[in-house]
Amino acid sequence: MTSLKADKLTVKIGTVTACQDLSVTFRSGQVWSVLGRNGIGKSTLLRTLAGLRRPETGTLLWGAISLDLISRRKRAQTIGILFQDQDPTFPATVLETALTGRHPWLSLFDGEREADIEMALQALKQLDLDGMEQRELWSLSGGERRRVDLAALMLQKTQVALLDEPANHLDLHYQVDVMGHLIHNWQQEGGIVIMVMHDVNLAMRFSDHLLLLYGDGETNHGNAAELATEENFSRLYGHPLRCYPTNGQHFFVPA
């Protein structure tokens, strides 16, 4: 069984400590949500997990191998990340952008093959973007662009998907239905999903595990059902929250 393991991980950015000596194992088939207040280092932690920046101390292990020892190409085939925003300097089409996800799987001399393009068209269709393949990125709405990025991530075919606020810009239908579908697929295929979320209820809907960042490096992680308490969330957000149980799911509402 595959796993991404953080061993005594300390991640800092500027004067902010996202986590101190965090040891946690993300296992195949699990869906994690990282919760915490603004500016607490959630995105930085996610980038660290993606191997894009070095942790201050501690190591990341893919299976039993340190992430540092894995080649860039192999890493990009294993771990994919959805960033919060994109700021393209030069115009690009929807299809071109989606196809960037195939990059780690193509050799130096290869171009994208028919199969890659077919795959891309399918992914775009799954995200309701069919017919928009040749549209320029700048002509899309924020939500459409977000879905193009999601398509690129799907095409990367990684075992680990790191999502930085995936629900951003998406309307209710896409948040609940399309995203839910994607996350479910990942889970079914034995992947690991770790996402930074702002909406507690959406996080509870999709994830089975939580990683709570309290600030000053203090963290708590574990089973979502166990960690989701009024007390924990109120402390997390520095604002009292109430829990309302309705058929099977607990809903948290700011008091």
């Binding site: 894009l52 860039r72 300097t89 952008t97 990059h103 193509l106 171009g111």
Partner: protein
């Protein structure tokens, strides 16, 4: 490709001395020693070849700089490489050195400028586009002041050739094997990494997340673009416009995939400069105009036209 061949033919056919197409063909076939033959083979051919190679190098360097700095306004000269070359070349002219020596000195100036930007921008290990751009632009401004200073203190007898050098001028020398090789090798190498360049232009972090070794690629791009620029500038002075606008024209015409943009830019930059060079010789013949002026005269309306039609196409 065909267009490129045609342009060469045009470049060889037109000039102060009236030589028709047939004679141009003739001089290729036979090794006759006629006057026309000499003009075509020893004056016009090397100039046209130089123009093509320089145009290609500047356009390629322009594409690379725009990706490196993630700035559509970047051109081969933005980081001060041409400024360093110009200061060195003008100094050499001021001292009355031979033209061969001027090229060598200009190359030295370009390399010095390149090394300065490279080390200064490096700072504490971060090599961000903004920092690189600022370092380069400030250094370029410094070189600019240096150029003005030299022009101000130079005797008027030197001024004409100095100004001409800066506006871009092809001597009657060919591009030489080294420059041809450099352009070919540069294009081939960048083509191999064209997909990485595509990713890099969408953002450094994204490229890194997709497995691109961004630092290594960016440093290579910087070095390659600098060397190409230096090679172009030392042959023909600072011909403006080609490096900035050709990449954009190509993007407007064929899209942003660098696997297409790179070769098309080289070809198009070459063609534009061959045409500009021909016009520079013929418009006010027998006077020769600075090529840089002509590239802008052709390029500005062409670019504006493409920009308008390109935008219309996209908004449909």
């Amino acid at each position: 490709m065909i267009a490129a061949g045609l342009c060469f033919l045009i470049a060889l056919s037109f000039g102060s001395a009236n030589i028709n197409w047939a004679t141009v063909f003739e001089s290729f076939k036979t090794g006759s020693e006629s006057f026309d033959h000499t003009v075509v083979m020893e004056l016009r051919l090397p100039r046209a070849a130089s123009a093509f190679v320089v145009g290609g190098m500047l356009a390629l360097a322009g594409v690379l700089m725009q990706v490196l700095l993630r700035n559509p306004l970047a051109d081969p000269y933005v980081l001060g490489i041409s400024g360093g070359a110009a200061v060195a070349a003008l100094l050499a002219m001021l001292l009355g050195w031979q033209s061969d020596l001027i090229s060598v000195t200009a190359a030295g100036g370009a390399m010095l400028s390149m090394a300065l930007v490279f080390t200064l921008a490096r700072g504490r290990g971060d090599w961000s586009s903004t920092r690189l751009l600022l370092t380069g632009v400030v250094l370029a401004a410094g070189w600019g002041a240096g150029i003005s200073f030299i022009l101000a203190v130079s005797p008027s007898s030197h001024l004409y050739s100095m100004l001409f050098w800066m506006m871009g001028d092809f001597g009657n020398s060919g591009p030489g094997y080294i420059r041809c090789l450099l352009l070919g090798a540069g294009l081939a190498t960048t083509l191999l990494f064209a997909r990485s360049l595509n990713l890099l232009s969408t953002g450094e972090l994204r490229a890194e997340a997709l497995g691109v070794h961004t630092l290594a690629i960016r440093i290579s791009i910087y070095l390659l673009a600098s060397i190409l620029t230096a090679a172009a500038v030392t042959l023909a002075g600072t011909i403006g416009f080609v490096g900035l606008v050709v990449p954009h024209m190509v993007r407007l015409m064929i899209g942003t995939d660098h696997r297409m943009v790179l070769p098309a830019s080289v070809l198009f930059g070459g063609i534009l400069l061959v045409l500009a060079e021909t016009l520079a010789r013929t418009v006010l013949a027998p006077r020769i105009l600075p090529v840089g002026v002509i590239t802008a005269f052709i390029g500005v309306p062409l670019f504006l036209y493409l920009l308008r039609t390109g935008i219309k196409r996209q908004s449909k």
